[in-house]
Amino acid sequence: MKEICEMTAHEIRDMYEKKEITVPEVVKAYIEKIESEDENIKAYITVCKEEAMEKAEKMQARYESNEKLPPLAGVPIAIKDNLCTKGLKTTCASKMLENFIAPYDATVIKKIEEAGAIIIGKTNMDEFAMGGSTENSAFFKTHNPVNLERVPGGSSGGSAAAVAGNMAPIALGSDTGGSIREPASFCGIVGLKPTYGLVSRYGLVAFASSLDQVGPMTRDVRDTAELLNVIAGHDELDSTSANISKKDYTASLVNDVKGIRIGVPKEYFGEGISASVKVAINRAIEKYKDLGAIVEECSLPTTKYALPTYYIIACAEASSNLGRFDGIRYGYRSKNYDTLQDIYKNSRSEGFGEEVKRRIILGTYVLSSGYYDAYYKKAQKVRTVVKQGFDEAFEKYDIILTPTVPTVAFKLGERVNDPLEMYMTDLLTVSINIAGVPAISIPCGKDEEGMPIGMQLIGKHFDEETILRAAHTYEQNKEV
């Protein structure tokens, strides 16, 4: 039998139902695992041992009373530290919010708690979700559980490392340009960036409002579907959340891709894609063909514009979203001030890290008068073009298949001094956020050093079902 900490959420849930295991046993196992492993991996910023144990006891009582329990009853979950949790610190891995306790719960937090999940901790990330390695955390760097010398990816690196390092069965991350999929790929787990508008952003500390989405990070596709069932849905508190009818995503988990049309855009296999990644993806493509899918090479020529467009839009929105961290009402305030201007300048200079400041400056620049048209406005136009590119491709295909990241996880410190190279990590993921479509990253093999490789399946707007189905089918049929 698997160790408790290696089980998926749905396996844990089944064992609760069969009374083969208790909620406190599971929560305790995870807490102990964190206590023994996390000093090396450093996935968590906050661990809520007492609260989690208390909730576990209560949930166990409910299991014993044989009442019908919600889908995640008693399942431990790790939460990225940019989702507001009432009464629990929400730091965004920033000195700015080091001691910030949100006065309210994010909508997704309410939903997972109503679904019975037990929060065991808040996970490390790149500060304000800006980065692709979790090295931009103001507190400490997270290590990849597969190889501690490597980064876990980012910005949801703590959530990915918690799941991959058996310190949580499932986790929530957020994805603005690849921040769920890239760490999922680097750590060898499943990560889904839902369609923009499918999951409420209320209570997600905003990085780039028009790109951010909260999504599941799990060990298998079923858990992703289960968790998506819980978090998806219209929220009156988020005007950008779509008012569409509720779906059961687990219904898509059929082991069959016959007749599904998969497009493989040649632009995603160009310069910078490592040989081992190409090999793994090509093997996955062969597998899909064997399983009866129709796989063809296609073209997404607008992809090359996605990265600069992304950095303009994301930084512009971030520069405005992060204005509220001004040292006035909450968060870090410099001790060094005489005037109001000093409070702003010094609190922000001292409270934000380098990467955050870099992006605020970039974003401020592209929005300033005289530059707005050349940068922000143009980027919005290109955004429309990128969307159209996807729309056209989706007239022919049900799914677009690409690598998630050009390479496997790199070593800690390897790219920190080269922001441009770091931004290239996002090359294959950002266009998905630009277009607003859903994409899932699933493990599809390892390189010769044993580092995980991820495959990205991109779907049509609000068609999570098809990519979940294809991901599930691959997962069921891949060679172990």
Partner: protein
């Protein structure tokens, strides 16, 4: 040199919705600091705005009532700047696609009427309030007002004097009150104006450099700030100097304006479309429904008063400038059926009382019903108009029913000829000199005799009868 004054106004009006523009907090004025706020209106991390649909409805009402075109599609934008009363470090406003545009209102100054163009009306959220803390010497922020919905009404530079500017704001105030979208309480800051003003040589086509005096919250302050700024710019130009484009404040206590920010320090607000909110799309049907629900506007009421009731144009204009006053006029007239009398009371005593007490008309302590009772007391000859003035003043203090005042104070007019004759006889007997003077052609002596009689009767004598009896005596 002779200059032409060019004035354009930006008027901010708080909308009287029950809840704030982007959250469910109360918009009620007052309340302990920071009791009407939540994560959204205090700019907590992760909190998101949701547009209050009533705000759109109210703004569209204002647009339709000022002859604007209503945008079928508009959007909201972020205006980024740092200030402690602005919790998100951006205001959500509308930049290039406002809800309403290209409107106009008619104003009248003296006997001249003119049209003032309205460039646009857009929706936005108000900021919090900074409070000086006398105890620590620091500054505190109260977010109760943060997120209260505002409309900003931007005029064309069509006004040429302080009188016109005041007439324009009065007109807007009247319209907004009529359509019920703002209570326009200037002393509470729910209606405030920014004045853009420049001078140019008479006959010149080109505008001069303008300054913007911000946040004027009374008609008096608007007028005085304009006069001050005209004089200041004139003096600079006459001396061959240059007027700088700048933002100014007006200190109503010292009666002086001063610059707060020059053009070099001007903010770059980095406007961009608010990504947290969807575009506002309005259907023809929605706009038509609002159009149909608009009440009678001051312009049309005024015409009715002039053409159907026969009020002088000036009086009709004053009365309809305030919805409260106009409603008051209609309610009182309905009861006493004497529109002219109601209008006279309003034009003289009611306006005087409001001025003396420094109150808005809706704070008058007496009802339209009581004014009509007073008028009926006169019309029925129960009290004289001299007594009525006393009763009015009494009523203006206590709000009491005039019938009760008259009864309690024993002010009922004496119209009994026998009783009046007794007094006349007595006064005439006591003042032979005056009688002789009158007969010698000194008409003033009549007034004296009437006055003495009235005094004797404590003002309660029916003046017509009294006059008649004295004249009868003197002319015999």
């Amino acid at each position: 040199m002779e200059y032409e004054v060019v004035i354009g106004l930006e008027v901010h009006a708080e909308l009287s919705t029950k809840t704030k523009i982007y959250c469910g907090c109360s918009t009620e004025f007052g309340g302990d600091p920071n009791t009407h706020c939540c994560p959204v209106c205090t700019g907590m991390p992760g909190a998101l705005p949701v547009l209050n649909e009533k705000v759109v409805e109210y703004a569209v009402r204002a647009g339709l009532a000022t002859n604007c075109e209503i945008a079928r599609e508009s959007k909201q934008d972020r205006k980024n700047y740092y200030y402690p009363d602005t919790p998100r470090a951006y205001q959500i406003s509308q930049y290039d696609l406002p809800l309403c545009a290209h409107g106009h209102v008619e104003i009248a100054v003296g006997n001249t009427e003119k049209e003032v163009g309205i460039t646009r009306i857009h929706i936005e959220d108000d900021a919090g309030k900074l409070v000086h803390d006398g105890y620590t010497g620091g500054t505190l922020v109260d977010f109760n007002r943060a997120g209260v919905p505002l409309i900003e009404i931007v005029s064309e530079p069509d006004m040429r004097s302080a009188e016109e500017a005041v007439a324009y704001v009065e007109k807007l105030k009247g319209i907004l009150e009529y359509i019920g979208v703002s209570d326009c309480k200037m002393q509470e800051g729910s209606l405030r104006a920014d004045v853009n003003l420049s001078l140019r040589p008479v006959g010149s086509e080109k505008f001069g450099t303008r300054t913007e005096t911000k946040n004027l919250n009374s008609f008096r302050a608007i007028a005085r700030a304009i006069e001050f700024e005209i004089a200041r710019q004139k003096e600079i130009l006459d001396a061959g100097g240059i007027v700088y484009q700048e933002t100014r404040r007006w200190d109503d206590e010292t009666g002086e304006g001063y610059a707060t920010r020059n053009k070099e320090e001007a903010h770059d607000y980095r406007y961009f479309p608010e990504p947290d909110l969807m575009p506002i799309r309005l259907s023809e049907e929605y706009i038509q429904d609002i159009k149909n629900s608009l009440p009678e506007l001051p312009e049309s009421r005024k015409n009715r008063y002039v053409n159907e009731i026969g009020l002088p144009e000036y009086d009709a204009d004053i009365i309809t400038s305030s919805k409260y006053l106009s409603d008051f006029f209609e309610a009182a007239t309905d009861i006493c059926k004497n529109a002219k009398a109601v209008s006279n009371w309003i034009m003289t005593d009611i306006i005087r009382i409001a001025k003396e007490k420094g109150i808005e008309y809706n704070e008058l302590p007496f009802s339209a019903e009581n004014l009509s009772r007073l008028i009926m007391l006169i019309d029925k000859g129960i009290i004289s108009s001299a007594i009525a003035k006393k009763v009015f003043n009494e009523m203006a203090e206590s709000g009491e029913n005039p019938e009760i005042i008259v009864k309690e104070k024993g002010l009922i007019q004496i119209s009994d000829e026998g009783a009046i004759k007794e007094v006349v006889d007595k006064i005439i007997a006591a003042n032979p000199q005056s009688v002789a003077d009158y007969k010698a052609g000194k008409d003033r002596a009549l007034g004296f005799l009437v006055g003495q009689c009235m005094k004797e009767m404590k003002g309660k004598g029916n003046p017509q009868i009294l006059n008649k009896l004295i004249l009868e005596y003197l002319n015999n």
